[in-house]
């Protein structure tokens, strides 16, 4: 009686006896284009790493790197990768300040939703092809302290990077990074599931020319 029990333990230790279940990618939210329902955009493997140009003023490069890194870490198989480039002419995504450049300051721990915002512009022609580099603009809102702006910017930058990877809609979940405006600093399980499913869905919108 002891020998089979030992053998089962040994085999279990080596090979594992329990059934291996793949995790569910639900719940998630729609990722198609808000005004072109059923049209999906994502970067294809041959376009990785996606090349980001960050405004050379202020801490934009750090904000973009932070946002790209957050989204890269949502994927298990390297489906999305981004890299900063120095030449805006060689970029797939251009991220700039819309007007004033905020000076560096220690962030306010309260978060300060609304102290900044951003907009991502994607020009798509009638053939569902993106015609030029995606453009992201970050803007500082008046009436907030520098600390509040410093707390807001990484969150909004990560949210806009989420749009540039192909999450074209806002989440209806107020606790998701891709809700508008974002209230959390990192992608949630819903954000991750949505991005993962998008990156294994056939895109219908063509990326901009390389």
């Amino acid at each position: 009686m002891r020998r089979p029990a030992f053998l089962c333990w040994l085999l279990g230790a080596l090979a594992g006896c329990g059934e291996v279940l793949t995790p569910s990618r639900t719940p998630r939210y729609p990722a198609d284009h808000p005004t072109l329902p059923g049209e999906f955009f994502r970067w294809t493997t041959d376009r990785l790493p996606v090349r980001y140009f960050a405004d050379t003023r202020g801490n934009m490069a750090a904000l973009v790197a932070h946002g790209v890194g957050l989204w890269e870490r949502q994927f298990l198989y390297g489906e999305f990768r981004g890299a900063l480039v120095a030449d805006s002419n060689a970029a797939d995504v251009i991220v700039v300040w819309q007007d004033s450049v905020p000076p560096a300051a220690p962030p306010d721990t309260a978060g300060a939703v609304g102290a900044c915002d951003g907009v991502t512009t994607i020009l798509i022609d009638s053939a569902s092809a993106i015609t030029e580099a995606l453009r992201v603009e970050l803007r500082v809102q008046p009436g907030f302290t520098l600390a509040q702006v410093a707390a807001c910017l990484p969150r909004v930058a990560a949210h806009e990077v989420g749009h540039t990877i192909g999450l074209l809609r806002h989440s209806s979940g107020p606790d998701d990074l891709m809700s508008g405006p974002p209230r959390v600093d990192a992608p949630t399980a819903r954000d991750r599931a949505t991005a993962e499913v998008l990156y294994h869905t056939q895109p219908t919108i063509t990326p901009p020319p390389p």
Partner: protein, 202 residues
């Protein structure tokens, strides 16, 4: 890295523990190289089935063997396999980085006849050299390993057919709610040569 260091420390301890007279008389050191195939590290399903699989890769071996009584011998083997990783999805393959598997095992060998030998071993395996994707939060530490092998020795060379199995899971996979480690089966064909000492091999 912890697996590499641990394996190296164990091998060094093993060498230090052997009396020098014994080393001269019955202990031999072998190096080997070959090719290894492994089954999928991860099987997943996101819209379509996905596998993360190591590519066929070189296998490098360092082994210390001590002849026991009769046809028996004990050995300790350090086995290193640097391999590329590929994501297989919907009939296509995509590069997914690389990783190195470092395994250390202790085993018992029995020589049968005409240079044929069987080996049964247990040990541990660790993955190192990657911090991306499934390995972004670490490699999962030392995983238990079981191994069997058949060898044929002739004129100082030994051809080994090796099979081993271990369980694979990483902190990133656990965070993504993979519930259990997955068994990973590996087979290797290697050729090795004695570089120090003598043994019972022809």
């Amino acid at each position: 890295m912890s697996g590499t260091v641990r394996g190296g420390v164990m091998l060094a301890a093993l060498l230090a523990a052997w009396p020098s007279g014994r080393l001269a008389a019955q202990v031999s050191v072998h190096i080997g190289a070959g090719a290894r195939y492994g089954t999928a590290l991860i099987r997943d399903s996101i819209v379509v089935p996905i596998e993360l699989r190591p590519s066929i890769a070189p296998a490098l071996l360092l082994s210390v063997r001590d002849e026991l009584r009769g046809p028996w011998a004990a050995d300790a083997t350090l086995d290193i396999t640097p391999s590329g990783l590929q994501r297989h999805e919907a009939g296509s393959s995509f590069d997914a980085g690389s990783v190195t598997a470092v395994a250390f095992s202790v085993g018992l060998r029995r020589t049968f006849a005409n240079g044929l030998t069987g080996r049964l071993a247990i040990g541990g395996l660790a993955y190192t050299g990657s911090s991306e994707g499934a390995f972004r939060d670490g490699s999962g530490g030392l995983m238990p390993l079981g191994s069997v092998a058949a060898s044929y020795a002739r004129r100082g060379f030994t051809i080994d057919a090796r099979y081993d199995v271990h369980r694979f899971i990483t902190p990133a996979l656990r965070a993504m709610r993979f519930n259990n480690p997955r068994p990973v089966h590996r087979v290797a064909l290697t050729i090795s040569r004695r570089i120090l000492g003598t043994d019972g091999a022809p």
